[in-house]
Assembly symmetry: C2
Homo-oligomer: 297 residues x 2
Amino acid sequence: MEKIIECVPNISEGKNREVIDQVIENLKKTNVKILDVSMDPDHNRSVITFVGNKESVIDGAFAVAESAVKLIDLRHHKGTHPRMGAVDVIPFIPIKNTSMEECIEISKIVGKKIGEELKIPVYLYAESATKEERKSLPNIRKGEFEGFFEKIKDPNWAPDFGPSEVHPTAGVVAVGAREFLIAYNIYLGTKDVSVAEKIAKSIRESSGGLRFIQAKGMFIEEKGMAQVSMNILNYKKAPLYRVFEIVKMEAERYGVPVVESELIGLMPIRAVLESLSFYLRFPKIDENSILETKIFE
Amino acid sequence: MEKIIECVPNISEGKNREVIDQVIENLKKTNVKILDVSMDPDHNRSVITFVGNKESVIDGAFAVAESAVKLIDLRHHKGTHPRMGAVDVIPFIPIKNTSMEECIEISKIVGKKIGEELKIPVYLYAESATKEERKSLPNIRKGEFEGFFEKIKDPNWAPDFGPSEVHPTAGVVAVGAREFLIAYNIYLGTKDVSVAEKIAKSIRESSGGLRFIQAKGMFIEEKGMAQVSMNILNYKKAPLYRVFEIVKMEAERYGVPVVESELIGLMPIRAVLESLSFYLRFPKIDENSILETKIFE
């Protein structure tokens, strides 16, 4: 039973294809399987998704960090997405035959190695966090690259690994273990973005809604519709069907129909089965009920 | 891109473990991957599920047929399930990077080989059928092993391959290509089997309901509930959600709630995604949206 761990490093370069190509070339020398590479020029940020066993994701994560530090100079970086490091964040996600505990262990091994060998201050975040206020990535990232030269002097913000000074061109990095994140949007049958904003407010954790949900209202030009744009940080505890049904219920209050769902990136088979179980009332259904899972296991 | 074809031979022995063990041992000499072996003593029948590429499923299907002919003597066979051959039926199902056309071609190769080398009359059925009345397996099987010695003399029932006389101990066999079949049951909140029977009648094709649905009403002692027991012969054209919602709607007419769904065996990921799309209004979602599919592709 092979272990499968996912790693999704975010690096602060989303425009220069050559840089990303070099990062990927270096990553390919390790034993990971690359699932996706998304460059976002507006955010000036790229997200690399790969999987592997314990040893290979450690090698892969370090390889990405090493290339990013060598190739990216944050002093010249501009983009709409907040960032604090050339390699900004490195999450590890348990997928198969592994556990959150093991991913925490991996994040610490990688964090220590990055701190010592690349001379970058490392903050353990999410499930790996050593302090409550480091669980939230936005909380760590507050002040961004430019602000960190001051922030790091605060004893509360002493890094978990690496030097106690910000790397002059590569900043700092967050490394941690977390659950698989599902990026999930719902389009509303209205152009009125204020409806989407009100619904987002009612469903997101930060305004008192569902735990593990981040949400904001947006207008999507291309579709001509308002959208509730969400991150589901824990799909086991905040299942897709519950998010959908609550958004639908809230939308009805404004006389607005829910037009369609949109998934950005991937979701695990368990998230799909959880929602199918709800609608079709399957008391037990899991990966072993799925033909393709049986074929590839 | 490796082709994946599924093959699900049914053989007429469900009590004698030694016979099944020998069949499986012989099957293991081929390059197929065995997913499941289910022995049913009441039916006195076993169902073997395996997958492989074109060459290996041809070898695997022939290996099972060869063992069954050698080890099973239908003259001494009794069971509740109708049967006409030692190896009763051999379906081929397109799973990945293949087509129904290719499975039809495979069924003809295997049928020809079984007819010529094992001296068993072979009937092409389902999508491979050469006549309308051979599409339905129950239609071919009518009269069973004992009746076939007469039936085969009718020019309408001349076999597609092999000798024009029934094999004295192994009978005849149906070989063909078909869609993946989902065995799907719905439990009702009543002990009254007549409600399940009425619902079954309203949903099944043979009584004028949904195409590709076989259904009957049953009482399930173990659960103390009536059940609508179904086969979905084409999950692409008769999706799970539609079957569930129609059964639920019909049940409401009798003031009976739908308690739970039950899957027997496996279902393909596409069947799950089709239903999720309906409930969550995903306009496009497919295997490429699923993490595990991306990992194993």
